[in-house]
């Protein structure tokens, strides 16, 4: 297993991201601390100087395991489950642009908050169908670029559907695309899973990416999740991918990155 941490490329309202400002400086710090990769949180790849991003990542000998896409929902309201077809189309287009961006790094594209919420005015079945249609369209597009998407269950307060790993798996089965995996995030799992460990075991054929945040969304070691046991469980299922810290920038962005690597270094991988 390799280690990464989320870095936001542009200023964002979403606070669960370390290193908000100054991308190059942040990437250097991530490399200096000994991370293997940087997960990039991107609102819209069209706003980026992609060649610069590629160069900065390369200069620092980092990988990009995944691209976070939730800002397009949080800041622009784009989602796969919006009753307005035009908005769903914009969300698909945005994810397709993220797929092209991700292809420069062979990164997975995360489908987290971008799925949206089942709004009160629409039926759950209908909203799920819209989401599945969007996921099918994006996974088809991603195949052309040999890119995987990874579906992230999030806790009930952030979305009212796909909250547990098992719900994620049911969705993945319904989409039926070979390039759609599952993202296990410990912060969300602490709220939603009956057992974090049993759920990981049961999802062993689906997990393609892992987010680490402690129970209070601070760096691992700052709450009460037993990361040693989580890592042991991931080893049991022979997980070979990245452990990526998606945490609040607390007590400050530098400290949270340092605390993450210090805590992970204490654990035998």
């Amino acid at each position: 297993m390799k280690k990464s941490i989320v870095v936001s490329i542009q200023p964002t309202k979403f606070s669960a991201l370390a290193f908000k400002e100054d991308f190059e400086e942040s990437i250097k710090k991530v490399a200096d601390l000994g991370f293997d990769g940087a997960e990039l949180a991107v609102r819209n790849p069209k706003d980026l100087k992609v060649d610069d991003v590629i160069e900065i990542i390369k200069e620092n000998n980092l990988e990009v395991p995944a691209i976070g896409t939730g800002q397009a929902y949080g800041e622009e309201g784009l989602s796969f489950s919006d009753p307005d077809e035009a908005i769903r189309k914009m969300a698909v287009k945005r994810i397709n642009n993220q797929i092209i961006f991700a292809s420069h790094f062979n990164a997975q594209v995360i489908i987290g908050l971008i799925r949206g919420n089942v709004e009160e005015s629409v039926g759950r079945a209908e909203a799920e169908e819209w989401t599945i249609d969007c996921l099918r369209e994006c996974t088809e597009f991603a195949k052309e670029y040999n890119i995987r998407l990874t579906l992230e269950p999030v806790n009930r307060y952030e979305s009212n559907f796909i909250n547990t790993l098992n719900e994620g798996i049911q969705f993945i089965k319904r989409v039926g695309a070979s390039n759609l995996g599952l993202l296990a995030d410990t912060f969300h799992m602490n709220i939603e899973e009956v057992s974090i460990y049993d759920s990981i075991i049961q999802a062993k054929d689906y997990i393609t990416h892992v987010h680490f945040a402690d129970s209070n969304r601070w760096a691992p070691g700052c709450g009460h999740i037993d990361f040693k046991k989580v890592i042991e469980t991931l080893k049991k299922i022979d997980y070979q991918g990245y452990i990526s810290a998606e945490i609040l920038p607390l007590p400050d962005p530098n400290s949270c990155a340092r605390l993450t690597i210090e805590h992970l270094n204490k654990i035998k991988f």
Copy 2:
């Protein structure tokens, strides 16, 4: 320690309450299952036939350890931190009515969601001062009825202030009223506390009421909170009050109450 479960007196939109319908039937079930008390969730005591409530409780030999008041925020928007003074006054009046209602049972009055949220348009310090002023007014009023209020820290998604037991304690100190205690809720603590057990120990001089819900807000035993260890910790601080189940009515209202008592009966009190 005695055991109770939340019963909502009137239909409510807030779903974290067992037994929504048919108050009398619900109270009988609570008594039949072996609970010592029923915590009552009340939007507005003025809508109740108070004598009927008193009689039903008495007939079933139950106590009422606490009155939940959050529905007035969820359904009417009344809060202690609203920038509109008229709304704050309505919130204080509502709580004072709850205090009068509570005095029939010697119940504590819970200050949970009714504190509201620090709105973006106002400063945090100002919203906190408004909340403290309201708490002072209500605790003064409660003294006339020999009633205690209990302040409930809730997780970050339900309010943006007073999330941890320690934040609750700081608020209680600032209010400076001898009849204001602290409510420890395991569901919220699982998200907010670095250690559920250490936080209980540190709050030992303040805790006057306890809510039990598992990590997923189902009945105790349905998630991953170690209630045996929580109860051992409460015994360490010599907690003599109620353990009250405030849980989602899942898989259904009857089952969640039964699951609660079954799980608690397995633990040595």
